[in-house]
């Protein structure tokens, strides 16, 4: 039961219920769609950039509490970041949700996103948490085909 509390932290549930930046950007510079073939989760990420800095980022889609909260908090964390910083943050986030760098101090760097550390106890849910990030990465890379969380 405590593992469940670790997974479904209040912050996560709150973001899942009222996701931030849940909208479409009318004229995004980058846009990509992602989906998880295992569970049917879908997510679209929109980015507008100025001088290599993310000016605005938004998402839409259907998914579980973990994927919605992850997308919501991702958009909050990435505003004002460069594309390189966004990639770096994804790596740290990936480490957190897979439990691979829990010990090396990366928590500080990713700030609020550390609430997703509980995902590491649920390997089947890692893809839920990373789908928005994979999609964001695909958008920045200008990929046209929908990205899969596989």
């Amino acid at each position: 039961m405590s593992e469940l509390r670790d997974l479904y932290q209040e912050v996560i549930l709150e973001h899942a219920k009222s996701p931030r930046n849940y909208r479409v950007l009318a004229t995004p510079d980058y846009k990509a769609e992602g989906f998880n073939p295992l569970c049917g989760d879908r997510c679209a990420v929109y980015l507008s950039m100025k001088d290599h800095v993310i000016q605005d980022i938004a998402f839409q889609g259907s998914g579980c509490a973990i994927s919605r909260a992850s997308a919501s908090m991702m958009t909050q964390s990435l505003k004002g970041k460069t594309a390189e910083e966004a990639e770096g943050l994804f790596q740290s986030f990936h480490g957190i949700v897979t439990g691979q760098n829990a010990a090396n101090g990366n928590h500080l760097e990713i700030g609020k996103l550390k609430v997703f550390a509980g995902v590491a106890g649920f390997p089947a849910r890692v893809k839920c948490a990373t789908l928005p990030w994979h999609t964001m990465q695909a958008a920045l890379h200008g990929e046209r085909e929908p990205v899969s969380a596989e």
Binding site: L4, R5, L7, Y8, C39, G40, G63, A65, I66, C128
Partner: protein, 420 residues
């Protein structure tokens, strides 16, 4: 007279289904998950295996292991006999006319692909149509899409209604002289709906269209009589009828199997080979190239023997009680909506909960030891039909109990508490 009647009454009353005795036959059911006894409600994905099946596989490898057919040594003869006995067991399970109508394949998926790539390629051409239904599993969609794409044919889909029942009028309308093949599921894996396959076969046969029935979700639950249904092909998977994974069955009418080209080339499927010409073996061996999954076939035979011993009729009646109980219990959960409310249903309940994604429900139930499936169940068009991304599916087997269903309902109530 009265004495005779009394006897008749005793004989007619259905045998009591002793679920506790049945549960003792399945070692995995004693597993603890996250400190709770396993409640296994994912039987539509795969069923657990009784000792009889596990033991049959162990015995084959420990005692009888040899390659089958053509061996003159004793072990090969023992293995061949066990293998071919299993074929006869499957024949009687399906009420097929002859054991030569039973082809062993890897599963229902391979069986459908086999028919699409042999009979289908031979008979479906440019401008022709293949008819399926809107409730098919991906395994009864994609093989026909591949065939239609290759041949320039069109895949037609008979729609379903809000309850998840096939619309028979629409099905009838879609049957035309262009229709060269009909492939329908007996039971929907995502909704539980049972199709009136005998009627569908009669409708298709009136236009001389052959029919394949996908019995993957039917064979574990009620008696299958391919002669009564009248279908040309019937397929099912071993692992859903308490047998091993990797083995399944294609039933085909003898005349059709004889006429069909082979699926794969290799050993066993030939009568003679020269570099100039190969003469193919007769069905079913023509479709069983290479060394088959001998242990799997023997395990499947043991599974069917196990089912026969309990009586598939008694199993079906018991599972129907479970379905009724589950339907009633889940109806009382606030915000829960059952997807698939057909009048004829197999023992599964697919549902969604307002504001809560199935995946989250699945994770929380797992923490309570309850195994359900969450997702699109390899039936994405069904999800699209109901405008939902996924469902939670609780599917029941012969070893499940009403108490387990009560646990499910109680834990679903907890889900809302945790997620809000």
């Amino acid at each position: 007279m009265s004495v005779l009647n009394a006897f008749a009454a005793v004989e007619d009353s259905p045998p009591v289904f002793d679920v506790e005795k049945v549960r003792a036959d399945f070692p995995i059911l004693h597993t603890m998950i996250h400190g709770h006894p396993l409640v296994y409600l994912d039987n539509a994905a795969t069923s657990q295996k009784p000792n009889a099946v596990i033991q049959a596989i162990v015995d084959y490898y420990r005692r009888d292991n040899a390659n089958i057919h053509r061996g003159v040594h004793s072990l090969s003869q023992l293995a061949t006999e066990a293998f071919e006995t299993a074929r006869t067991t499957v024949q009687s399970f399906l009420h097929a006319v002859s054991s030569s109508e039973i082809v062993f394949v890897r599963g229902a998926t391979e069986a459908i692909n086999l028919v699409a790539q042999t009979y289908g390629r031979q008979h479906v051409g440019q401008g022709d149509e293949v008819l399926i239904t809107a409730m098919e599993h991906h395994s009864n969609i994609v093989p026909w899409q591949i065939l239609c794409e290759e041949k320039g044919a069109t895949l037609r889909v008979a729609p379903i209604d809000e309850r998840g029942e096939l619309l028979l009028d629409e099905f009838a309308t879609l049957l035309s002289p262009c229709t060269k093949f009909v492939s329908v599921t007996h039971v929907s894996n995502a909704l539980g709906s049972i199709n009136p396959v005998k009627l569908l076969v009669r409708m298709a046969h009136s236009l001389c269209i052959p029919v394949l029935v996908d019995g993957a979700q039917a064979a574990p639950h009620f008696p299958i009589d391919v002669r009564d249904i009248g279908c040309d092909f019937y397929v099912f998977s071993g692992h859903k009828v308490y047998g091993p994974t990797g083995i399944g069955v294609l039933y085909g009418k003898a005349a059709l199997l004889e006429e069909m080209p082979p699926y794969q080339g290799g050993g066993e499927m030939i009568s003679s080979v020269t570099f100039e010409k190969t003469i193919y073996n007769k069905a079913p061996h023509k479709f069983e190239a290479g060394t088959p999954d001998i242990a799997g076939v023997i395990g499947l035979g043991a599974a069917i023997t196990y089912i026969d011993r309990l009586g598939i009729g008694a199993i079906g009646a018991y599972e129907h009680e479970l379905l009724m109980h589950a339907t009633q219990m889940l109806a009382e959960v606030p915000g829960l909506r059952v997807i698939g409310t057909g009048r004829e249903k197999a023992s599964l309940v697919s549902f969604v909960m307002e504001g809560i994604h199935p995946h989250d429900i699945g994770t929380i139930l797992d923490q309570e030891g309850i195994a359900v499936r969450t997702g699109h169940h390899c039936a994405q068009p069904v999800m699209d039909r109901f405008g939902i991304p996924a469902t939670v599916r609780a599917s029941f087997g012969l070893y499940n109990t009403k108490e387990e269903i009560d646990t499910l309902a109680r834990c679903i109530e907890k889900v809302r508490g945790i997620l809000s």
